[in-house]
């Protein structure tokens, strides 16, 4: 099975709040000087792909769109974790591309990669969280689409997929090619790379393509689809109130307050 895992490099979500800032002119998060990592759910997607590889000997290609200059660590991590090769579409605008444009570029890159039975992506990016790439990419590829999956395994000629549902989870079948978006559960916690795999990663192939190498990627008739008019950091205030009285009175007062706040 040939698997492509699409990942996005984002500002580390663990970044201390004091180091987080927004650029009012571009209406984007400031990335410069911040630690950049593989987006959280994309790492889960990579883990699902590597488990398929462990089980059935799949080939795993890690694919990303972004500025090559900053992508080194993330690409190397994807390779150290066990991807066989990586493809970078070197586009400085990559991290902030609208989902629709990104989906078309990814589809074009996957066509250029060649054989592909399964595309795995994180269910949402850790920065914009639009959740649109998987369905739009499936549409572009004419592939089956399953969203919010946690586990994937081969079944007959296709795939057996476990996905989250409001009432628990569903186990469904999917044909290939398929695009599956991955969310986290206890079975797909990203593995840590071994020391020797970190060393070996530098010997694995990394292909760098310019956006022009993908052929023309047309804009949608409706433009970018989403226009960001403003960005702001939510202002949070905290206050502490001590409830007086005996424990039973405190409990009653607490319940009343939580109800008033519509938290109960």
């Amino acid at each position: 099975m040939d698997i492509v895992v699409c990942f996005k490099q984002v500002v580390d979500p663990e970044l201390p709040a004091k180091d987080f800032s927004l650029d009012g002119s571009t209406r984007r998060q400031v990335r410069s000087g911040r630690p950049l990592v593989i987006s959280t759910y994309d790492e889960n997607a990579l883990e699902v792909a590597l488990q398929l590889k462990d089980g059935s000997g799949a080939k795993v290609t890690a694919l990303t769109i972004g500025p090559q200059a900053t992508l080194g660590d993330s690409v190397r991590l994807a390779l150290a974790m066990g991807s066989d090769e990586a493809v970078i579409v070197d586009d400085p605008a990559g991290p902030d591309l609208p989902g629709a444009v990104k989906a078309r570029m990814l589809a074009a890159a996957i066509r250029k990669i060649g054989s592909c039975d399964l595309v795995l992506v994180g269910c949402e990016s850790a920065d914009w969280a639009e959740r649109v790439v998987a369905p739009l990419l499936a549409e572009e590829m004419g592939a089956a689409c399953v969203t919010f999956a946690t586990r994937v395994e081969p079944s007959g000629g296709g795939l057996k997929v476990r996905r989250l549902a409001d009432d628990g989870f569903h186990v469904i079948g999917a044909g290939t090619p398929a695009v599956i978006s991955i969310t986290s559960d206890e079975t797909n916690r990203p593995r840590l790379p071994k020391v020797k795999d970190i060393v070996a990663a530098k010997r694995k192939p990394v292909h760098t393509w310019a956006p022009a190498d993908l052929g023309s990627v047309e804009a949608t008739p409706t433009g970018e689809g989403v226009t960001v008019r403003d960005v702001a950091v939510p202002q949070r205030t905290t206050q502490c109130e001590f409830l007086a009285g005996e424990p039973s009175e405190q409990a009653a007062a607490l319940v009343a307050k939580l109800r008033a706040l519509k938290l109960l």
Partner: protein
Amino acid sequence: MNAVLTDEHRMIQAMVREFAARALAPIAAELDQRSRFPKEAVAEAAGLGLMGMMVPEEFGGSGMDVVAYVVAQEELARASAGFQTIVTVNNSLVCDPITRWGSEEQKRRYLPGLCSGERLGCYCLTEPQAGSDAMSLRTTGELRGGEWVLSGTKSFVTNGLEADLCIVYARTEQAAGARGISAFLVEKASPGVAVGKVEKKLGIRCSSTTELVFDGCRVPQENLLGGRGEGGRIALATLDGGRIGIAAQSLGIARACLEESAAYVGQRRQFGRPIAEFQATRWAIADMATRLEASRLLVHRAARMRGEGVPCSREAAMAKLFASETAMWCAHRAVQLFGGYGYVADYPVERYFRDAKITEIYEGTSEIQRLVIARSLLSRR
């Protein structure tokens, strides 16, 4: 500081930091309180390639340089100094001398298991009457009937309870001091080897520290490590590497003190404001950070020199001396900043305080480090 680390070093640092956060930090206090050996975490560390970091890949190791090793040790010690003790002994004091002085057969026989976590090593140099004066050791090795027979008692053996393989130093030659000593690879399960007293320690409690008693223990001739009479030289050269490992442990403890203190003083309010706003607090934090950075520079320099094969006894001693005293100093400041909460087990700094003390003692006390440094600077008298 990152400017001197390669991309590879930084990736290893990130991996070990994540491992420590996942597998060690949640259990570090419990390991300490129960003096429990973290068998599962050791196995996981071995799987990641942390038990034989500098052993060449052909013998099952990770084939990394000494800088990568110290970077990893700092991260482990940041979470659990006791755990790091287990790891650093296996790496610095057992795998490293076998790699450097072992025969091809010894390397093939012992290193893969030590790297994979199937086996654990310990280092048997110190004796009840031979601590800082290690070369006065009295354990004897006699060649009888084509085998070596070892007799004597070793003390303060880290990993003594769980180890499978011991490097044992014994007096085999008439010559006094270092020239009369040979090193042996001894299976702990051999007849004539017994675990003696298990020490109850102030800190690093999840690693065992025991006596090992050798009573007529028979060792095949092929288990001599290096040549006859080379044991003293091997022991001292091994300790240069061991000291760098303990210096890296000191960095981890000092960093733990700094990071926990920096977080705490921002939350702890007294006199209507966070105590971070008081100048005395800010100076303490600044001094901790500055000493830590200076220590790290010394440790990384010594690691780089050792990796390049440059004699570095003085630099290793300087790194170990300064970093260990920095760890103790930072732990002292951290407990003071936490006040009463620094004295109780609800917060981790009391554990850091207890763990820090050993770094000034083992693998050469601070006083011995000063002697090593001074000896390299002054003419012999």
